[in-house]
């Protein structure tokens, strides 16, 4: 309830700010000032505040508040920026190559930002449904641990039973699967196909094995299942991190364009 009230307050505040900005235009027109200068500077300040979030993440040694708080403010300012842009462009398209490119950059930044927000909210929930949550950097160790454990089980099975079905299955199918991230595209779309595929392979093999080896196979299954989940986590967590590789450079490029835009505007101010 408290969260809902906070959201309502934040949305109301954003609407209030944008409405003020919109109706402030009439006042500025009445004063003989082009309101685009006001909302342009508003956008300039907003962009710099949005970029400050990235700088904040580097200044971990300074007590600048929680990153989560910064992130929430970042999202809020991002929404304000969308409204500000619409007001600045007077709800119409801009003309000219430079302005169009600038607008395209801004739109791409906002779109990637929106996608990032969506992924950062949706992916953790999905990850919690697919095994235990793991930090991206630790996935290789988890994977290595699975390799070590499974190899011990396979070696033990070979010592107890001289048949090679399990060892062959491990060597030919499981080992290559364990060495790297597999089925990236399937995991990207949150498909259950990889898990189903392994389940089928295990079932198909199981009916050919003795009861002893079938027991060994059952011991291997949780690790394969864990590896599938790790791959899923890896793909999703990589996505959660890599979108910033597009979003942040675009934001900085927008700043470069914005600086040039300001220079040109003030060079030709007062000209028709």
């Amino acid at each position: 309830m408290k969260k809902l009230a906070l959201r309502f307050f934040v949305v109301s505040l954003a609407i209030l700010i944008l409405a003020t900005l919109y109706y402030f235009q009439d006042i500025r027109v009445a004063q003989g000032v082009n309101p685009a200068y006001d909302n342009g500077w508003f956008l300039f300040v907003l962009l710099n505040l949005l970029l400050a979030f990235n700088i904040r993440k580097k200044l971990i040694f300074l007590p600048l508040g929680k990153v989560k708080t910064w992130a929430d403010i970042h999202y809020f300012l991002g929404f304000l920026f969308i409204g500000g842009i619409l007001i600045h462009f007077n709800f119409s398209l801009s003309g000219g190559l430079f302005n169009s490119l600038f607008l395209l950059l801004v739109v791409l930044t906002l779109v990637t930002g929106g996608l990032g927000l969506y992924w950062s909210r949706s992916i953790p929930k999905r990850l919690s449904n697919r095994g235990e949550y793991v930090v991206l950097e630790r996935i290789p160790y988890e994977r290595q641990e699975i390799v070590n454990t499974m190899e011990r089980i396979v070696e033990t099975s070979l010592e107890q039973d001289k048949t090679i079905e399990i060892a062959s299955f491990y060597r030919d199918r499981i080992k290559p699967f364990l060495l790297d991230v597999s089925d990236k595209n399937d995991h990207l779309v949150s498909s259950d196909k990889p898990m189903a595929s392994w389940k089928k392979q295990f079932n198909d093999l199981k009916i050919q094995l003795s009861s002893h080896n079938a027991g060994i196979l059952d011991q291997l299954w949780p690790y394969v299942e864990r590896k599938v989940h790790l791959d899923y986590h890896h793909v999703k967590l990589t996505l959660l991190r890599k979108w910033l590789f597009i979003h942040i450079p675009l934001a900085y490029l927008s700043l470069v364009f914005m600086l040039l835009h300001v220079l040109i505007v003030f060079s030709f101010v007062g000209e028709v």
Partner: protein, 640 residues
């Protein structure tokens, strides 16, 4: 599975460090990690520590835990090697991506900026259709240096003044002398707040696609300067007022008098217009109804007035021989040479006064004559000094007239104008001088030698023409005056007099001369219908309505009104109580008592409510009060 995140089991993630272990992606990251320069520090799998007198293995669990062999006696790990090629941390990769992309884009922008491509690249959009001409280029509207980025920086910090920027627009759009001022006019010259340069860009914006060149339709634009803020037509707009927007019409026509008096007269009843549109014709653009030509309307009754036919004297008296008190001058022994005798009722006319005013010594006497303090016909009570001045005036008058006949360019001086027709017939002047002062050449030679001719009188022998014998457009001589009969409506000579005098109105004695010629009772009667406005330092003769400041517009055609009288009178209701003609005496265009009742805003707001029909200021009001003339010649020559 081991889920602990203790340092021994798994190394901590350090995203802020520049370099990461090259083996991190395979889960075999060493404990030391790379140094700050990105070099691998790992020479062994662990760094043993000394426990008492024994070295113990510290190999982490994820690399297999403590080895069976253990460290050497010197404390070295028994597993040498294990070095890797460190990689940049993800955050560093992202930072480099940002840096390189910013550099690349900046370089690209610099290429566009410092090459000839900048006009194309930075152009903020297509021009409006009216400006999409082959002859238009960037420097038609912007300074030639505007393609120089260094100039942009300079302009950004010290922008060019508005009048300099406006100059580019005014190259083609001619709004006259006061183009840079509010409303392209000098209406605000007495108000400091208004007497400032208004940038064209205050209302007009280019590069806005299609035809969105003007933002004058934005309601707030007018409120920037106007103290009385008007929210909308229905909110704060004053009553529209009388026809003419508070300014009287250029042409004087009293509808009341004509319809209630003159057209009821039997002599003129047949000339009564059939309908409003008999006299008022719609202009080509369908905006206004203007007075029809004189020849189709007023001429029916007023032809004789403009040709002087209806007057006792059909011509305007330009020069004369003033009646002079010769006896008094003689009594004081003041010689004036030969002078016409028996002159009665003639005065020194304003043209003569102006001609004589070039002699500054005579100026006080001329002022006195003009004011009636000195009468040349009766000098009995004038002091001796004035009498001597009168003597000088008489001689000068003769010489000036003689000079006018001999060397008109010199005598007319500032009234000489190449742009208008000659304002006086030199032959007529020469004849008059010969008739009035036949000995002038001899007398002048004597005068220059310091000998004044004796005072004598002579009889002027001029056969006076009958009124019917004087043709329109003729200069004719009466015994003691030279007169001109106007040729009819649009008399070019009279027009020239008006034009020349109006342009020199601030000069001494010119205003009196203008008032004399433009007097409504003078033959020609121009000022009887064409109103005259006296501004602070200029005179405007309103020959046509186009000279007016049309602050408002009403497109009759688009309002689809019928052309029947009843339709006209639904808006234009005659005000029978108006004091129309009196209001013109003030010679102030803002003093107005219209023949028609004031319009009510309610009449317009029935439709112009901002919803059904626009209620923007510009839909009814003209901003540019000076008539715009588009001059493309300069533009064309620039690009040929």
């Amino acid at each position: 599975m081991n889920k602990s995140i203790s340092f021994r089991n798994k190394p901590y993630s350090r995203p802020n460090q520049k370099w990461a272990c090259g083996k991190a992606c395979s889960g075999k990251e060493c404990l030391l990690g790379p140094d700050k320069k990105g070099s691998c520090q790992s020479t062994a799998l662990c760094q043993p520590y000394k426990d008492g007198d024994r070295w113990r293995c510290t190999r982490p669990t994820h690399l297999g835990g403590s080895c069976e062999e253990g460290p050497s006696g010197l404390g070295d790990c028994c597993y040498s090697g294990g070095s890797c090629q460190p990689v940049l941390s993800p955050r560093q990769k992202r930072g480099k991506l940002i840096l390189y992309s910013c550099i690349a884009i900046s370089l690209l922008l610099l290429v566009f900026t410092f090459t000839g491509l900048n006009q194309i690249f930075f152009s903020p959009g297509p021009l409006s259709s009216k400006h999409q001409l082959d002859t238009m280029a960037c420097d038609s509207c912007h300074s030639p240096e505007s393609d120089s980025p260094m100039h942009w920086i300079q302009l950004a910090f010290s922008p060019a003044p508005d009048d300099k920027r406006n100059a580019y627009c005014l190259n083609c759009h001619k709004f006259g002398e006061f183009a840079n001022k509010a409303h392209s006019n000098n209406i605000g010259k007495t108000d400091k707040a208004m007497d400032k340069t208004v940038a064209c860009s205050s209302c007009h914006q280019e590069h806005k696609f299609n035809n969105l060149i003007t933002s004058a339709n934005q309601q707030g634009k007018c409120n920037i300067c106007h103290k009385e803020k008007i929210e909308s037509f229905n909110n704060g707009h004053p009553e529209i007022g009388a026809l003419g927007g508070g300014q009287r019409t250029a042409l004087i026509f009293d509808h009341n008098n004509h319809y209630t008096k003159h057209f009821d007269d039997d002599d003129h009843s047949e000339n009564k217009p059939e309908a409003c549109i008999t006299c008022h014709v719609q202009t080509g653009n369908g905006v206004e109804y203007r007075q029809a030509a004189f020849k189709n309307t007023c001429k029916k009754c007023h032809l004789a007035d403009v040709t002087g036919g209806g007057f006792l004297e059909p011509g305007i008296k330009y020069l004369s021989v003033p009646a002079l008190d010769i006896e008094t001058l003689e009594e004081n022994n003041l010689k004036i040479g030969l002078w016409p005798g028996d002159v009665e009722d003639e005065e020194l006319l304003p043209l003569a006064i102006w001609l004589l005013s070039k002699d500054s010594e005579l100026t006080p006497l001329l002022v006195d004559i003009q004011n009636g303090d000195v009468e040349l016909a009766d000098l009995t009570e004038v002091d001796e000094a004035t009498l001597k001045l009168v003597q000088k005036l008489v001689w000068q008058y003769k010489f000036v007239l003689h000079g006018l006949a001999e060397n008109p360019e010199n005598q007319l001086g500032e009234l000489r104008s190449d742009s208008v027709k000659p304002i006086i017939s030199l032959n007529a002047v020469a004849t008059a001088v010969e008739t009035w002062f036949p000995n002038i050449k001899f007398e002048k030679i004597q005068y220059e030698r310091g000998r004044l001719a004796k005072t004598r009188t002579h009889e002027v022998d001029v056969k006076e023409k009958d009124k019917s014998e004087i043709n329109p457009g003729e200069w004719y001589l009466k015994p003691y005056s030279l007169q001109y009969r106007p040729v009819g409506h649009e008399d070019k000579l009279l027009f020239s007099w008006y034009a020349v005098l109006a342009s020199k109105i601030e000069k001494p004695f010119i205003k009196e001369l203008f008032n004399y010629i433009s007097h409504k009772e003078q033959p020609g009667q121009c000022s009887r219908c064409h109103s005259i406005d006296e501004l602070s330092s200029q005179i405007v003769v309103n020959w046509t309505e186009t000279n007016r400041l049309n602050t408002s517009k009403f497109t009759h055609e688009s309002h689809a009104l019928e052309t029947k009288d009843s339709a006209c009178q639904s808006c234009h209701k005659v005000n029978e109580d108006s004091n129309y003609l009196e209001s013109y005496k003030a010679k102030d265009r803002n003093v107005h008592d219209s023949n028609f009742k004031a319009f009510t805003s309610q009449l317009c707001s029935q439709c112009h409510d901002g919803n059904k029909v626009t209620d923007s200021c510009a839909s009814c009001h003209n901003y540019h009060l000076a008539v715009s003339k588009l001059n493309m010649s300069s533009l064309v020559s620039d690009f040929r």
